[in-house]
Structures are given as C-alpha cells and as structure tokens.
C-alpha cells in the first residue's frame, strides 16, 4: 500500500543503524530539536532553493532588473501565443490587459490592470508557473522584464520603464488595490418557511443547449479523429496545450503549409522527433512534449492523429 514504507530487511537494518547514529549525534542538540525530532534541519541554502514567493511589500524579490523593451521581445516569444500580443487573450486563455471600469458591468473583464491588487502577485506567478508549457524556466531578469511589459500593456508604466528593486515601490500597488474587502458571510438571511412561502412559481431559466447539442459539441474533435480516438485523446490531453495555440513556436493543426513540409520528412521521422525532441525553426519540441509519462506508442498515435488532421 505505502511504497515508501516497504523496504528490504537489509535496508531496514541499515536505516536502523543510521537512526541510532543520528540519535547519537542529535542527542547533543536535543534542546534544539522539537518534541519528536523528526526530519533534518533546513539550511539557509536549502530554504533559498524553494522559497520563491514574493509578498506585496516586495519581500522575497531577487536582485535583478528588466525593461519594458526587453520584456516586449520575451513576451512576444513566450506569452503572446496564449495571452495575445496586446494581452487580449487567445481562446479561453486569460486576458491580461484592458477591462478598466468594467467591474460593475454585466460582463466584467478582470485583468492585471482592472482587477489585480499587487504587482508582487504578477511577478510571483510568472516566476512560479509561466510560461505555461515550461513553468519556472525564466531567469530573474526575464521575470522582471515580462512583469514590466505586462504593466506597460496595462498603461501603468512608460515604454522606457525598468523594473527592479529600486523602482518596485512605484508600481507595487495596482489600480484596483483598495477594492478588496474581507468576507462578510453569512450574508443571506433565509428563513425556514414550510407553508405558502411564496404566491406563485415561474420557471425563469433553462439551459439553452439541449443535452444532445452539448454532447455533439464535446464530440467534435473525437469525431474528426475518424478511427483514431486514442490519438485524439492523447492529443487533447497532452499536445493541444501548445499545438492548438502555437505556444513556443509549435505549429498549429490548421497551419497546413508548415505541416505539408513536415509530412515530406515521413511519418516515422516525425514520430521520432516527437518522442526524442526536436529543434525546429520556430521553436523547440521537448521530448514527448515534456510529458514523459506518455509511452512511445501514445506519442506515435497522437502524431498520426495530428498528421491526419493537418492534411
């Protein structure tokens, strides 16, 4: 059941000897340890490697800097395929800019400029989770530069702005900063009425799509797969992230011209590239698209699906 508890007798014996040794050495520092004394003390270096969060007052910011100018190039290259060149968002990927004054409207547009409270959140999130297909891959200076550029897309800084520890204070608070309030719930005062609780009941809303229409919409890609449902499934689960949007220079399925040239290489070569990774003209395909949990066979059927779709 718990793999990490299963060990060979030899391993157990070794561990016990080790534990005796550990206890012997830590006994000296017994006062410094907690009640159980489990685990090891975390060193400054060990903490630094994982302690990546940035707080609203700038605590946690690394030494470095980045300009709007540098940010534009990085953003175009690594962010625009999902978030749009102007931060307008592609498909269902998040809109980053615009939307000022829409928070009270029927369809509010919640962006960095219109909704977010702290620039630290932007820096922190880019550093920990972006770009989506290659999280935590940006250098500190690149993170500064992309943060500066997203602020620029929201008209919050000029085009010659450079973000660093020195200029942080100027932009730390975003325009909507003061509009967050604590949770006042419970905020409804319903009573437990049992009889004649209202005069009449009218149906005011029903789904506009029928169950069949919803199912049909869900099935579009699978139907297109025409006999390669497995390939479609792997594609949707693993490959679509980049190949639907064109992230990181990945050719999209509707880019027929690019695929025509690739087809000439032959299916076997393309499958090999997809499994082993490939440096293309527009971008880099990591081995299995970074999804090392996929089998070679999974990748192969996904490539076959893509080639059929791109034809």
């Amino acid at each position: 059941m718990f793999r990490f508890l299963k060990m060979s007798k030899l391993k157990t014996l070794t561990l016990m000897l080790l534990l005796v040794a550990v206890f012997a050495t830590t006994a000296v520092n017994a006062k410094a340890a907690g009640h159980y004394g489990y685990g090891k003390a975390a060193s400054v270096e060990e903490i630094a490697g994982w302690d990546i969060d940035i707080r609203p007052d700038g605590r946690g910011l690394p030494v470095g800097s980045g300009s709007v100018e540098d940010g534009e190039i990085l953003y175009e290259d690594q962010c625009a395929s999902c978030h749009g060149s102007f931060g307008e968002g592609v498909g269902r990927y998040p809109v980053l800019a615009g939307g000022e004054g829409t928070l009270t409207e029927e369809r509010p547009e919640k962006t960095v400029g219109s909704f977010w409270a702290h620039t630290s959140t932007l820096f922190d999130y880019i550093r920990r989770a972006m770009p989506f297909p290659q999280p935590a891959s940006l250098s500190d200076d690149e993170t500064y530069a992309i943060t500066a550029y997203v602020l620029y897309l929201n008209d919050l800084v000029e085009d010659d702005f450079v973000l660093s520890l020195d200029t942080w204070e100027e932009v730390a608070k975003l325009p909507n900063n003061s509009n967050f309030v604590p949770d006042p719930r419970p905020d409804t005062q319903a009573v437990r009425c049992m009889k004649d609780c209202k005069k009449e009941v009218k149906i005011v809303s029903e789904p506009t799509m029928t169950a069949e229409e919803v199912a049909a919409a869900d099935d579009t890609i699978l139907k297109a797969a025409a006999g390669n449902e497995k390939g479609a499934s792997v594609y949707n689960g693993a490959c679509a992230v980049c190949h639907n949007s064109g992230v990181a220079g990945a050719p999209t399925l509707d880019d027929k011209a690019t695929w025509k040239a690739r087809l000439a290489l032959g299916e076997a070569t393309l499958i090999k590239h997809a499994i082993e990774g490939f440096q293309g003209d527009t971008g880099m395909m990591p081995p299995k698209g970074g999804r090392m949990d996929l089998s070679d066979e999974d990748v192969a059927v996904a490539v076959k699906f893509m080639l059929a779709e791109a034809e």
């Binding site: 907690g34 489990y38 969060d53 999130y125 309030v181 009573v191 437990r192 809303s205 029903e206």
Partner: protein, 440 residues
C-alpha cells in the same frame, strides 16, 4: 479499465466455452456474451444487448453464472467495478477550460450512494496537470517564522501521530456556471465538483508545534510541487484548528489526482486551499496574496468590490434521484434522495419541495452525520405523474438556511463565479425525464 492478461483471458475463454458447450445454441451465445463481459466492458459493448431488465434468467430459470465457475482470486489484483458500471466515471466539460492540463473533471453524483466518494471518482482539478511523484524523492519543508526550520521525508512525516476524518471536498466554483442562469444539463456538471472521503494524516498543528511557531506569525503559505507550484495563504487559526496534512484517502495511499504523496485538507473550506502535492509550508506575519487568492478565487460584488479570503463552503444540497441522470419510470412510490453538506459543521435538517418552493416538508437524514461531510437525505414520495419542480434546502447546525437564487443574487449579483450555494430546482416532466431549471 484494466484488461486481463492474454493468457488469463484465453484460459477463461476456454473455461467459459467449455461450460457453454453444454447449453443450447441461443443460450450458449448469451452465455458467451455474459462471460465475455466479465472480462471487460469492450466485449459487452461490441455484443450490443445488455442483460439488464431481461427476464431470461428470472425465476424459475437459472442463469449461467450460477451453473459455472467464476473468475479466480486476483483475476484483478487491484479490484475494479463491474464492467456493467462502466458509465460511472468522471467527466469534463471541454468548453469550460482552454485545455485539459489546467482544468477540472466532475464526480458522477447521480450514482453516488453513500457519503464516501470512491477514490477513483473524486473530481480532479489541476492547474498544470497531474505530476508523477516518487514518494522517496518527495520532501516537505517547513520554514519562515519558526524556531526550527525542517525538511521532512515521507518516512519522517508518517512517524508523527496521525488521525482520520470524513470530510467533503468542494471546489468553490462548483455550480459557478449557473450564476447567470441554468446552463448545465446534468447533475454531474451542476454539482459534481464535490466529493467526500476519509482523510488520514498528521494535524498541521502537530507539525507546527514540532517546528515552534514564533510570536506574530498569523499566516501560512502552502505550496505544491506541481508545475504550477500551486500556492495559497492559510490563516493560523485554521492551521491550529483542524487542517490536516494528508497521506491517505479512504484507507489507502492518496491518489495521484488528489496530491500523492501528500496534500493539505482544510475541512469545510474551498478545495483550492487544500494544496495537493504539498512541498512547502512557510510561516509568516501576513497573507502572501498569491494569484489564486486575488486574480482568482475572490468574489466580485455588484458594486465592483471583491471579497477576498472567502474560505468557507456554505450549506448546500442537491437531489440526486430524481435527476437528469436518474429519471423516473412511471408513476408510483419513490425514494427521493440527495446529498447535503455545510462547511460550518453538521447538517441539522434538509427540507424538500415538489412545487418549486411554495411548500416544504422535512426529509429524513440517513446514515452517518459527520461535521463538514456529505450527509444523505431522503423522503418517500408518491408520484402521480404530474409535472413537479423538485428542490432541497439544507439547514446546518449554526441555523443557517440555504438561500434561494433570488436571495443570493440580491446580495451578490451574478458575477462572483464562486460560492454559489443556491437552492437547486429539477423540473420533472410527465414522462419521468428531468431537466435543470431556475425558478422565481
């Protein structure tokens, strides 16, 4: 579904065929079909007709599975549901998210018949996909405003005293697609970002005592080891109350989808705070304002203000039979049943209405009633075949009464996305079918 190995399949087929030889031709075909179905759902699907509802083997006839040997032990070393249950699975709504890596799937609530959600049916929510983590290589670091920053291995963590609790887990966006009007066509999608499990782990308070929290520490940043390094700020009061660092779910190791090898569970609070694949706890003096607690998981009000740190999942309920997935088959007596829950404690009572909320009658609470856990309810009902508007209403032990859509929207408008706990209405049609509606 796991398929038996080729040799095993061959052996079973031979066995089935041998027994089948003794039967007349038609029966033999039927027998082979049912035998094959035991080997996997695919054979059944290919075969076409299912046996369900057939009178073929009703008394006095004796079905072939009574006159033959069944599959041996460890035919399925890790047991799977019957192939006849192949439709009871998690599903997603493709248009809801840009891809399936940062996405959500839903629990099939219409088929959930207890307060424990089977581990394989617990809804999934990923922000950067599901990582594959070797527990021997996983570590939990606790640091910040503590006397003794430490790094725990899984072996270390599991030496602490542990405890178990049955608690629901709900995404605060559950039902969020319904704020502006009825939109989803099935119970799985209107309420399925909801599950309930027995969670086993170490109380966060035990770990905090071990590292020694310094004066002035009020918040804890919890962070996952997945590609999104998912992170949320947790107030110290919750950490010292009932927050649990969990390594087991329903008696076995936590599922990968649920954060294997460890996750945080904040009972009764929005699922998003229950960080999966937990790797780090930083103790600090103020909230960290992570992306998932400002840009997302804040509730926008009609005046343009947004509520932050809206942790509690308030009292809620839904009727699971009848529902779109469980239509009625003709007039007569039915056991109407459903699920109720509250992040503030125990469910005290559930009422049901058949006329869209004009009149109500109390339902019976059935089975275990645990705080912050799914609670079953039901009423016996004689359906005369006329249309009905079926609702349920949860009252929790604090006295809070689940609100109507009208009451909820009067305070919060319809742009807040999260924490929609309004009374839900199923429209029962004379043919027994059920659809999702909202009423005045």
């Amino acid at each position: 579904m796991r398929q038996p190995k080729v040799e095993e399949t061959d052996r079973l087929l031979t066995e089935i065929a041998k027994s089948g030889d003794q039967l007349p031709a038609v029966e033999r075909r039927q027998f082979l079909k049912s035998g094959l179905s035991m080997l996997g759902g695919a054979a059944l699907a290919a075969g076409g007709t299912a046996l369900a509802g057939s009178a073929k083997y009703a008394p006095p006839n004796v079905p072939p599975w009574t006159k033959s040997l069944g599959a041996p032990v460890i035919a399925d070393p890790y047991g799977q549901p019957s192939p006849f249950e192949k439709d009871v699975v998690r599903r997603n709504v493709p248009w809801l998210t840009a891809d399936r890596i940062a996405s959500i799937s839903f629990t099939p609530l219409a088929d959930i018949k207890g307060i424990i959600t089977p581990s394989g049916l617990v809804f999934e929510r990923y922000h950067a996909g599901r990582p594959e983590i070797d527990p021997d290589e996983h570590h939990l670091m606790i640091h910040g405003m503590v006397e003794r920053p430490i790094i725990l291995s899984m072996d270390d963590l599991m030496r602490f005293p542990s405890t178990s609790m049955i608690r629901f887990l709900e995404c605060p966006a559950n039902g969020g697609m319904e704020w502006r009007g009825a939109q989803m066509t099935k119970l799985q999608f209107t309420h399925g970002m909801l599950s309930c499990c027995e969670w086993t782990g170490v109380l966060l308070s035990t770990i905090l005592a071990e590292v020694g929290v310094k004066k002035g520490a009020n918040w804890i940043l919890a962070e996952g080891a997945d590609g999104s390094l998912m992170s949320r700020s947790i107030p110290m009061e919750k950490a010292l109350d009932d927050a649990l660092v969990v390594f087991a779910q329903n008696g076995e190791a936590l599922r990968r989808e649920q954060g294997y090898p460890i996750r945080l569970i904040n009972p009764g609070w929005e699922g998003n705070t229950c960080i999966k694949w937990l790797r780090r706890l930083e103790i600090g003096d103020s909230p960290y304002y992570q992306r998932e607690e400002t840009s997302k998981y804040t509730d926008l009000m009609p005046d343009g203000k947004a509520r932050e740190f809206t942790f509690v999942q308030e009292a809620n309920s839904v009727v699971t039979t009848p529902s779109p997935e469980n239509p009625l088959k003709g007039k007569g007596k039915y056991w109407l049943e459903g699920l109720a829950w509250s992040g503030r404690g125990k469910v005290k009572a559930v009422d049901v209405s058949f006329d869209g909320g004009i009149n109500w009658r109390p339902a019976r609470l059935t089975g275990m009633i645990e705080p912050r856990a799914l609670t079953r309810f039901g009423v016996e009902w004689d359906w005369d075949g006329s249309p009905a508007l079926i609702q349920s209403r949860c009252i929790d032990e604090t006295g809070y009464v689940q609100p109507t859509y009208t009451q909820l929207r009067a305070v919060r408008g319809s742009s807040s996305i999260y924490h929609k706990n309004a009374i839900h209405t199923w429209r029962l049609h004379p043919d027994g079918s059920v659809t999702n509606v909202q009423v005045s």
